[in-house]
Symmetry: D3
Subunit: 290 residues, 6 copies
């Protein structure tokens, strides 16, 4: 696979594909069992039906080979590469019944992940030449966060904190909760967080206006998240910070505005849609007998 892309651990992928195969009844495929004999051999080609960025081919491979280790799966394209409609992605060969019974699960993974990678790549391409990075969020599909974060990387994006346990992000609700405890200066909130979490963690805080931003900087925040601001507001914020913290823009950012935002000088742009609203990339497996 392309340089720098590390798949989730093999045992995580194996657990996911095994669960998916069970969910799909692949071990009790009544149609295939009725019509295909154990001795029949088959061959198939995975083909992209639309243009996009490939992600998840090794997961599709795991689905097929963990279903039946006699299936040989040869990738022709690496995750992270761009494909056109018609590109051949991989060849499989093995017991025909096994190929047919595991096909759908293999496709369900690679289509979804490639959908995420494709959308991510579109955003990344839109901001080429700026210093900004496209980030994912925690708005992932339950159970598939590892895979979707990997798909984001395949599309050229970067990952935000993995989850609530390994990164600090103080949101408006936390600020309100602190205010209830008489901590009305955001600088104090930042300091309180700093003293409470492991010293290895940075403090990121979400602000909605310049006043909050100034207080956050005074409190020593490491990262400022600008929530739902206009490009103009973002530009003002970037100037105000003067490099004393990293800056992340977030909130309903579409393809239309992403470049304008990137050009404000922010360090990061985080986009929930990468994982919650990417349409699948159309991929099919064309099977023939041998």
């Amino acid at each position: 696979m392309a340089e720098g892309l590390t798949l989730p651990a093999a045992h995580i992928i194996d657990d996911l594909v095994l669960s998916a195969l069970d969910e799909d009844g692949a071990y009790d495929d009544v149609t295939t069992r009725a019509l295909v004999t154990p001795g029949q051999w088959g061959r198939g080609v995975f083909i992209a039906k639309d243009a996009g960025v490939l992600s998840g081919l090794p997961v599709a491979a795991a689905a097929m080979t963990s279903y039946n280790e006699e299936i040989a799966f040869d990738a022709l394209i690496e995750d992270g590469e761009r494909v056109s409609a018609g590109t051949e992605l991989a060849e499989v060969e093995g017991p025909l019944a096994a190929i047919l019974s595991s096909e759908r699960v293999a496709l369900n993974f690679v289509q979804r992940m490639s959908g995420v990678a494709t959308l991510t790549r579109q955003f990344c391409d839109s901001i080429v030449g700026t210093k900004a990075r496209i980030l994912d969020t925690r708005k992932t599909t339950p159970g598939l966060r590892d895979l979707e974060r990997y798909a984001v990387r395949c599309g050229g994006g970067f990952n935000h904190r993995y989850n609530l346990a390994n990164g600090v992000l103080i949101k408006d609700n936390h600020i309100a909760a602190a205010a209830q405890r008489e901590l009305t200066d955001i600088a104090d909130v930042v300091v309180l967080a700093r003293n409470s979490v492991p010293h290895t963690m940075k403090i990121e805080i979400e602000v909605t206006n310049i006043t909050q931003l100034v207080e956050a900087i005074q409190g020593g925040a490491d990262i400022i998240l600008l929530d739902n601001m206009t490009p103009a507001q973002i530009r003002e914020a970037v100037e105000k910070v003067q490099g004393r913290a990293l800056i992340e823009a977030s909130g309903g950012i579409t393809m239309d505005v992403v470049r304008e935002i990137a050009e404000t000088g922010v360090d990061f742009i985080s986009i929930g849609a990468l994982t919650h609203s990417a349409p699948s990339l159309d991929i099919s497996l064309e099977v023939g007998s041998v």
Copy 2:
């Protein structure tokens, strides 16, 4: 919830939300732990930010109440109902820290499921007045098939077979495999399947032309799937069958053509996009302290 909608079993939902909470690090939310005390109480409202069809609110409820049983979750809208931008969906009240730590997981479920229900409803609305039913497919998110099938029902759609184990669907690859065994008449393939599977199952077969269709009917197929046919071809097929089998149209069916297809007289229209490409419905949780 609306009449006729049965949720997946409680223990299935509980397992899914627990896994999702673990995945999100909700039990070790360093930010909330640093800034919110156990004694602080909060209240929140789930609000739709776009128009659509609600699905998964009980799953969101399960995420929050299984995280902390002191959270009271009151649904204001039932799954399957239409909502507008601004509609209040549910109120929660309980320990503020618990609300904040479980919020994202609750939203991830209800946004995705409502996305599926909303897209399904759009297809169903498009064919009102015809006898056709909109069906889902096996192109679901790995691990979430139960929830997504439920979401399809919330949107007014119907479910196809659950998986490979509980329904027969003879596809082109099965026909080709049978041909390799000298079974070149599709009627014979149907009969072979009939004799091999439990007597409680119907035989559905995918055909791509009228010749195949005629043989399938001769073999006694219960259901004919017309794959990627034009409305004109579908109309011809419907006439040919003359009610001797149920008819399902499938293959790349978009909102543009769905009504024309429904008007051919088919019984079912199955659409993979319902579950593999539905964008999330935007829903937010607005939290305040009490």
Copy 3:
């Protein structure tokens, strides 16, 4: 193994044998550990002590080889074959301690499954020459349904629906429940079921008299289950149906009456005793050192 017999998936069998080995303390066999050294090698032969039909030998093999992969297990007979008292079924060779520690679990599976296959074969042999098929029921041992259904097939029987989720069977209690809702004509009950379940499923309904049977046929039932009827009543029912539905006889059917029932012309005879009351086939493992 004999043509047409497909074992449950390997990972299902592996899970079952691993659980059974744990349950039997096989990984902490204090006696063998005290008396047999790691270096001692052994050989053994599985021998039938009674006549019957073999089933489950690959499961016994899995128990031994998953306990210790150095054990070589060579089947001499295939599942589904008839054996006499004294028939040698398989040879094993490997570390003696491992053979002794896994022996009981291996035997517990193959003895029970062969018991089911043997009883099934006796019923099948009794109806040779009729068109009827012997079916199993859902009265299986909790946790072992996959294995017992396979054992039924080894004995020449066929499987009924797998479980409540993948087949419709309307029983007297469902009819009574529908009556409570003003659905007193069984034809209406059949139609209601038809409209509610996936279109891939047939509708089977249990009737206890001819009136019910007539209504069921009028409602378009695909399969009629005749519950606890005498051969004469069954014969009358078969004539009444005239091929418009498949017919299954059920309810306390013993070896004494099975042929008479089969000769009435029913399609299926389902027998709970196949799985809930089959005595084990006596099989032993005779072990020697090498």
Copy 4:
């Protein structure tokens, strides 16, 4: 439940019934869902159809109430009691759909366990007045050992060692393995075992003739298992031992000979058939609406 009968731990039973409900598709019962509304209430009575000894009623209760906690399950008879054909065992009341969906699993447990208890009781009744105890063996159904051992106790029997890890039983194969290591005197084998296992364990050894028995006693064996001996041989063995060890008879012991064996003065008679070949006790659930 009767004095002295302790059920397996609740969480073990809960796991077993949950797995069985999943296996039976009880959470997706398409028939019941189509025909019974959530609001319909039902009542049922468990009735023995044959005479026997009850065992497993609390497991049946757990199956139903864990399926739906609104089901009220009232036992009328306690495990371990004798029942006649027609005896009412328990009443249930609750949501009709839930009763119908969980009925089969509940019955599968209680029928099987009562079958074991009934057969055990027949053996126990046959030896009344002797000092011998009827024991089970490790020839149990994989996955159900805890329940079957409990069923044996319900029938008046006693349990042998739980598994290979918590009791020593030196069999012929162990003796042969030791002989290979130049330990040809059985007394030495007993001593070797004694020195190797935790001091809390007794040493039981299987012998097939009087010579072996004498050596075993010389080695200080705590328990002697007489394998497949005739009553006359057993009587001779009992006299030889003179109370220096406990004596257990085993091997193909049927109802015909069990009393004669018990009268030889042995302490224990172990019988594999209790758990591997007991036919189910016929029990039905008669359901009505409320």
Copy 5:
């Protein structure tokens, strides 16, 4: 419990105590079952036999109440408090058999955790008046990291990064690995790490001499770990850093030198022995009948 101490999530604790109860055979306690009747009620008091700091009492409570919910467990002391030999920690009352069967598991947790808290407190007390904090390490007992980190907090210590996934710590081996790739200036290594990990993470790096330290600071390291340095070397390092990074001392730090090290001005002192070598605190449960 004392202000600021948050227990691991309830379901984590429940899983741990359930596994431990299973491991200890608590659900099949043959001795208690033989000698104590279900009706007997008991009362007990947990008593410290040595002085120390309490930790894990809620875990002990969970062990007992999850074993049998009829046990009432009343804590008299909160986790984090100091206790003397003889201090009564908690009272329990409930079924005597249940108390006896779950006692050992309850004690195994609270003794071990209190041992960790006690040793941590001794280190913390030694450095009172300095600004340094005592930190744990990843040298925890496999499976118990959550509990042991909590125990460290009970003793007044702080937690380091949770694990390899949620904190960056560049060790000598990483530096050597980078050197192999021509990255010989540590400043470059820090920058490479910075560009590769989520922007929410700080960069901590281990150095063994002043040259490395200077390069690390130049690279912008957020935290410097001084490995196995003498107090004099540490003092020099602190002066060199001049507040541009946080400083952590580590490596074989004993009670004898901990204060001297704290007085150098380091921010943190991390000590593996807190979790890998703390002796248990002696606690007993004195049980009486009621």
Copy 6:
């Protein structure tokens, strides 16, 4: 490994190391991923930093090789052998990133287990020449009982009963509970236990004075546990028993008194500290690139 030492089953070890690797985030090691490329190869040596007895090296091997099967792990010393500070224990070679990510887990197991073995060996060495055996207790680390019992054997000790389910030990609380039921003579308590538990189990009873001891012997106890007695009292007890039962001394036995106790003639000395208070043996992995 040394003669007679049997490791826990491979699947138990595999489960433990996999859980530990997950707990440590080894599959998402952000530091290593950032700085070490997949192609870099490394070599390392495990070295004892203190003298002691080795235990758990195969577990460390399993941690590394199950993390990445390309790691070759060559043990230079066998479990149970004595090592000095500086002894090389094992060499590893393989992908450098994998070695670095699995190192800590491997060490956490082998350090802890070697700590237990080392302390056990010290006790065993103290009583050389007497007939007494050093035993472990149930005071083990939750989740690690199998490994710690193995470590005790590595140190020359013996194992007591595995858990509550496979050995009888009547303690003071059981005696008190029996007294409540009018069983005031300890002989009667022993007999009651004898009649209730499987015949394969011995009866061990704890006594605190000579009166109890005499009654226990009269009741036919197989083993007497002398709780917290002085050497003089123990000597008197040994004389009183006259070989009619095995004798075990227990209760706060330290290195100072263990020999004196062993010389009284007891058969066993059980010591909780072996597993609850053994400090880790210091072992390091020195890694270099290749």
